[in-house]
């Protein structure tokens, strides 16, 4: 008779794992363990293998590099100097920094983000330095990247800890975008005029808030059914 050593129930002769407590009956390694509902565990969200990651990184890096080269070449042809192309190039360098960190540094997301931030700060600083001396990187580039990374980290944290992943995530992203707009506005205003002031972003935020409220409302209504009565019944 095949008996589970843990819960003492009788098992079918063919059972190598107790379906109640998942205790193995023999020494054999079992690949799939049925749960109490009799279903097999399914692994969702298959991750890329290291070679696949490296290949993807190479493709993206090539696209970014060609974009930088193309922008600078066009700028040089038109203006005989590097002017506006600094900005798309800076964006490409930032994207490259984060992609590289996420591809090659297998750490917690917080560390990967911090690594991406550090690398992009270094690259932007050097890029600014070699293109007509230090100009925009310290006053605009680095604060903007810092603000965006910080908000992204908070958003990732919130999304991961959200029990229900639905429309609420869109609401969080909207909220994050509104805050980012305020930060961009503040940083740019300071860079251009030398004083702290928030201008257009307030309008953006004011427009975003009702959308966020509606999204949250719809989410909670859907999550808890159509009735709000249960939450507020007296």
């Amino acid at each position: 008779m095949n008996i589970c050593r843990n819960c003492g129930v009788e098992l079918e002769e063919t059972m190598t794992v107790c379906p109640l407590c998942r205790q193995a009956t023999g020494n054999s390694e079992i690949a799939s363990i049925p749960d109490t509902a009799g279903k097999e565990f399914i692994v969702y969200g298959k991750k890329m293998s290291p070679p696949e990651k490296k290949f993807t990184w190479e493709i993206i890096s090539l696209i970014l590099l060609s974009s930088i080269v193309a922008a600078i070449v066009i700028d040089c042809i038109l203006n005989s100097n590097i002017t506006w192309s600094e900005y798309p190039a800076a964006i490409c360098l930032t994207v490259f920094s984060y992609i590289s960190m996420f591809t090659f540094w297998q750490q917690r997301t917080t560390f990967q983000l911090a690594g991406g931030l550090t690398l992009s700060i270094i690259l932007l600083f050097l890029f600014d330095l070699i293109t007509d001396g230090i100009n925009w990187s310290i006053k605009v580039g680095i604060p903007l990247i810092f603000a965006a990374t910080f908000l992204a980290a908070i958003l990732i944290k919130i999304i991961r800890h959200s029990k229900y992943k639905g429309i609420n995530l869109i609401a969080y992203v909207f909220l994050g975008a509104a805050i980012l707009c305020i930060l961009i506005d503040g940083i740019l205003y300071y860079y251009l005029r030398g004083i702290f002031h928030i201008d257009w972003s307030l309008l953006v935020a004011a427009c975003t808030i009702p959308v966020v409220i509606v999204l949250f409302f719809v989410h909670f209504r859907m999550k808890k059914g159509r009735s709000l009565k249960k939450t507020f019944h007296i």
């Binding site: 819960c7 009788e10 379906p19 009735s227 249960k230 019944h233 007296i234």
Partner: protein
């Protein structure tokens, strides 16, 4: 097919107090176990559980806090079974269903939070699970066997709040009972709960009860009161002087017997027979007589209606209803400890469980474990009869087993054979 999309439940009147008072020790969780003669077969047992999944939507819920009241919300969680290796009647976590199915060797147990149901509801659920399991193992179930068949659609009556159904506004003054005597034993270290089970022949206890012309429950309550009286009297004069001189036992009453209902949620109240030691010592014969008359008197339909009215009126009071939950919970916990102070112990009898000759022959015994007592009450007792045997269970959170010793010694002195058993 009923639509359960927006299904949610208000807590019934009896359940309302538990979320406010429950803790890791005072769990408000009780257990009913059935010991089969053969080991549980895992495959068939799981199949039986799976077939129940949609039959009890009112048990597939979790407790949620609303703004004014707690409520029960459907949870997309499977009915799971866990190995029975931990302390019985453990608290449920926030995201868990409010009941669990446990299995160990030849024992199947269900544990329910009182927020969800009472002993009757839990027993009905266990019976259904047991019948389906036996059917899966090849046992031919008798045609007329009454249970909740998986293919039946749950009726609304099964999850009704029967207190509300039978509520009638009755204007009468409720007198506050004086506090009762409580056993003076020191509490165990955590986890405090210790369980003692005893097996008695129903025949001899029924004969003794018949001798006094009372029911088995009355008899057990009288023995409990008598044992508590002994404990009171053996205290020093100073302690006696300081102790409350009322000994009262809370005896739950299944209201379905008085007010017809098929509800699978709570529908029980209690009577509190007791003795007043201000009036001197009581002989056992006197106690039995008092218990018999008090129980008959208090289970009168009109008096029960009055109790329902008192309890439900509180819930319906506008001021109470509009208080935010956290304030309400504070009041409820005060109310709960004040209520517990009014009685010295609990004796709950599930009665005789009979599943028919064929099914009975496959079962060894039923054991009913009441919810762990709080630190005022300290000890409580439950009984369940099956196949000529009465299983008594004492839940004790103190270092002393003196009450149990006196209770069981009294029974042996009365000529009733008592066999102590381990619940493990």
């Amino acid at each position: 097919m009923q639509d359960f999309t927006d299904f949610w439940l208000r807590l019934d009147n009896a359940a309302k107090i538990y979320p406010a008072v429950k803790s890791q020790e005072l769990t408000a969780v009780f257990r009913i176990s059935v010991d089969l003669k053969e080991r549980v077969k895992a495959k068939q047992f799981i199949e039986a559980i799976q077939s129940l999944e949609n039959r009890f939507p009112y048990y597939k819920v979790t407790l949620k806090a609303g703004f004014f009241w707690y409520y029960l919300e459907p949870a997309d969680l499977p009915f799971t079974v866990i190995p029975d290796s931990d302390t019985p009647c453990r608290a449920f976590e926030k995201q868990e269903l409010l009941f669990r199915i446990l299995v160990k060797a030849n024992r199947i147990s269900v544990e329910f939070s009182h927020i969800l149901t009472d002993g009757t509801g839990a027993l009905e659920f266990l019976k259904t699970l047991l019948f389906l399991y036996l059917e899966k193992t090849g046992v031919q179930l008798p045609q007329e066997l009454p249970f909740h068949k998986p293919e039946d659609i749950p009726k609304e009556e099964e999850y009704e709040d029967a207190y509300n159904r039978y509520f009638k506004k009755i204007d009468s003054v409720n007198q506050r009972q004086p506090n009762a005597f409580h056993v003076p034993f020191r509490l165990n270290d955590r986890p405090r709960l210790k369980i003692l089970t005893a097996e008695l022949p129903v025949k001899s206890i029924a004969a003794k009860a018949k001798e006094y012309e009372v029911s088995i429950t009355d008899y057990l309550v009288a023995v409990y009161l008598h044992s508590l009286q002994e404990l009171y009297e053996e205290q020093s004069s100073l302690k006696k002087h300081r102790s409350n001189k009322i000994i009262r036992i809370e005896v739950p009453v299944n209201l379905r017997r008085i007010f017809p209902s098929r509800t699978m949620r709570n529908f029980s109240l209690y009577v509190m027979p007791g003795i007043d030691l201000h009036l001197g010592h009581y002989s056992f014969e006197e106690i039995v007589k008092i218990v018999f008359h008090q129980v008959r008197l208090e289970t009168d339909r009109k008096l029960i209606s009055k109790m329902i009215s008192r309890n439900v009126s509180g819930e319906k009071n506008l001021l109470v209803r509009t208080l935010p939950l956290f304030i309400k919970s504070l009041f409820l916990s005060i109310l709960y400890s004040r209520g517990t102070k009014q009685y010295s112990g609990v004796v709950t009898n599930m009665g005789n469980i009979d599943l028919g000759t064929e099914i009975n022959s496959l079962i060894k015994q039923f054991i009913f474990i009441p919810p762990p007592p709080n630190d005022i009450l300290k000890v409580n007792c439950a009984a369940a009869g099956f196949n000529g045997k009465l299983n008594l269970t004492f839940c004790n959170i103190t270092v002393s087993k003196e009450l149990e010793r006196r209770f069981l010694s009294f029974l042996t002195n009365q000529g009733i054979a008592v066999k102590l058993t381990w619940y493990n």
